[in-house]
Structure formats: C-alpha cells, structure tokens
C-alpha cells in the first residue's frame, strides 16, 4: 500500500481525487477556483485604491486563502514524506524534443533547471521569462474569468459554455507557445 502511495500516481487515481477536491468545496458551500486568490491578495494589498475591480469584501474569501495555505503545506508533505524520488516519467518523444532545445536531465526534478534554477533565473533572459510567464497567467486568468480549476474542472463539469471557450483559448495560447515560441527562446 505505502509503496503505491510513494510512487507517482496514475491519472486514473489523480483525476478522480481532483474531482473530489471540487466536490468537497461545493459540499462546503464554496466553489473550486484557485485564481480568485490572486485578486483577493491584490485587494488585501490595497489595490482597491487604484481600481474599483478590487473593491470587494475580501474577508468573504478567507476560506480560499486557507485552501492556498493548505496547498503549500500539501506540496511540502508530498515531496518530503510521500515521494520515493522517482523521476517524472515523460515520454521518449518529449525527452527527445526537449533535448533538442538544450534541456538536460529531463524529468529528474519537478521543474527544469533551465527555467527555474537560480543560474537561469538570475540572468536577464531567465528573469524575463518568469516575470512575463507569471504576468500572462495573472492577467489572462482574470480576463478569462478563471483558470484551470475554475474553468477546465469546475466550469466544464457544470457544462458552462464560457468555460469551454476559455479552455479552447488556453489551448490556442499553450500550443502557440509550445510549438512556436519555446523553440525561439531555447535552442
């Protein structure tokens, strides 16, 4: 039993548990949406002085901040107590494609050193990549009205057309980035 928990979990185990996360939040009278927390943190930091968009009672979102705090703790527990150090078993083709872009040791860590390692981050290009990537996620998710949890999981589960359109957008952007822009950034 413990052996299976320590190994990476297959999709048919993980997917239903993500659904369970959403179901628990709905049963608790809330909804599953992680990106709302970005707006809440902006509001707590005083963004309401600059735009009405941020003028709302953030205390009503305290429950979601508790979820965020939990996810940080969950990430810590998962790597320190529930992992056997397995590499990310990505496909042979993925390893081949990434090697061609100059990525080494593909899958050895959760994240590539070429993007998240301090050597990369402390270069102008590396810093720009993380800042631009984060900015696009934060801007895009609010513009689209949700992220992967709010649109792709909750919205599609609830047969929402706006969510389907947003998810199509996620893929338009993701495919252009992966097929056309990443090869320009790394080669």
């Amino acid at each position: 039993m413990m052996e299976y928990i320590l190994q990476p979990w297959p999709w048919y185990f993980s997917g239903p548990l993500i659904a369970l996360t959403m179901i628990l939040l709905v049963l608790f009278g809330k909804s599953f949406g992680m990106s709302s927390n970005l707006k809440t943190i902006c509001t707590i930091s005083g963004a309401g002085k600059y735009a009405d968009f941020f003028k709302f009672d953030w205390k009503a979102q305290k429950w979601n901040l508790a979820v965020v705090l939990g996810t940080i703790i969950g990430g810590f527990i998962a790597v320190h107590f529930l992992s056997d150090g397995s590499a990310i078993a990505v496909s042979e083709n993925t390893i081949k494609d990434l090697s061609a872009l100059g990525f080494e040791n593909v899958g050895e860590n959760i994240l590539p050193q070429e993007i998240y390692g301090w050597d990369a981050v402390l270069s102008l290009k590396g810093m720009a990549i993380l800042v631009i990537a984060g900015f696009l996620v934060g801007f895009g998710t609010r513009y689209a009205g949700g992220c992967t949890s709010g649109h792709a999981i909750s919205g599609l589960s609830n047969l929402q057309l706006p969510s389907l359109i947003a998810v199509i957008g996620f893929f338009i952007g993701g495919l252009i980035m992966t097929f056309f822009i990443l090869p320009l950034l790394f080669s």
Binding site: W11, I18, V26, V68, G70, T71, P112, A133, G138, L156
Partner: protein, 137 residues
Amino acid sequence: MKALKFLLVGIFFGIVLVKSEAVSWYRIYEMFKFQSFHMYGIIGSAVAIGVIFFLIVKKLSLKNISGQVISAADKEKNYKANILGGTIFGFGWALAGACPGPMYILLGTGVFSILIVIAAALLGTFVYGLLKNKLPH
C-alpha cells in the same frame, strides 16, 4: 475552526497535484505536444466525475453542509473575454508550466524561484483590474 476544513482540502489538493505530477513543467509541455495521455486522463477523468456529480446534485436537489440546495452559479457569458483572456493565460501556462494552483504548491515543494512567477501573476491581475474597462469583453 471553520477554516480548518478548507486548510485540509488544500493540503489534500496539494498532495494530489504533486503526486499526479500535474505541477511539473515537463508534464505541461508534454500535454501541449500531445505526447502523452497523462494530463488528458487527469483532466478528463476529473471532468467526467464532475459532470456526473452535478447531474446527481441537480436530480436530487442535494444540499450543502449549511443546508442550502446546491446551485453552481453560471459563469459570466463574456465570450470575447473568455477566448482572449484564455489565450493569454495559455501563453503563460505553457511558458511557466504552472497555473494558479500549482504556483503555490510548488512553493511548498521548495522551489523558491516560483515566488517570482507568483509576484508577476499578482501584478498581471492588478494590471487587468486597471485596464478592465478598456478591454473588449
């Protein structure tokens, strides 16, 4: 201790996303390259169960723990914003390899450079709030 159950849900979600490898940049790249079923299986099975859950909820008018009938709010119909914002989000998702949930989880796994992505995501949200009325919706 109302917050405790939400903290526990968060811990559960964080563990699931790490163990599923959905927090890995490599898995996101692989997904957008259509080179593995892994991420499609995760999202697809989550949505399939979610659809069944909401069908049952509606059929039986199930109540939440506060005793209210569960009614999931409809998403706002701003199709232009959905597609434009979604595309912008997709650019960032494929570049960072992380969406708003995994960003926090990765911090917990000890990747501190993710703090730059989180700070930039907050800035992006802030700038959206400033420009909201000028953008097509």
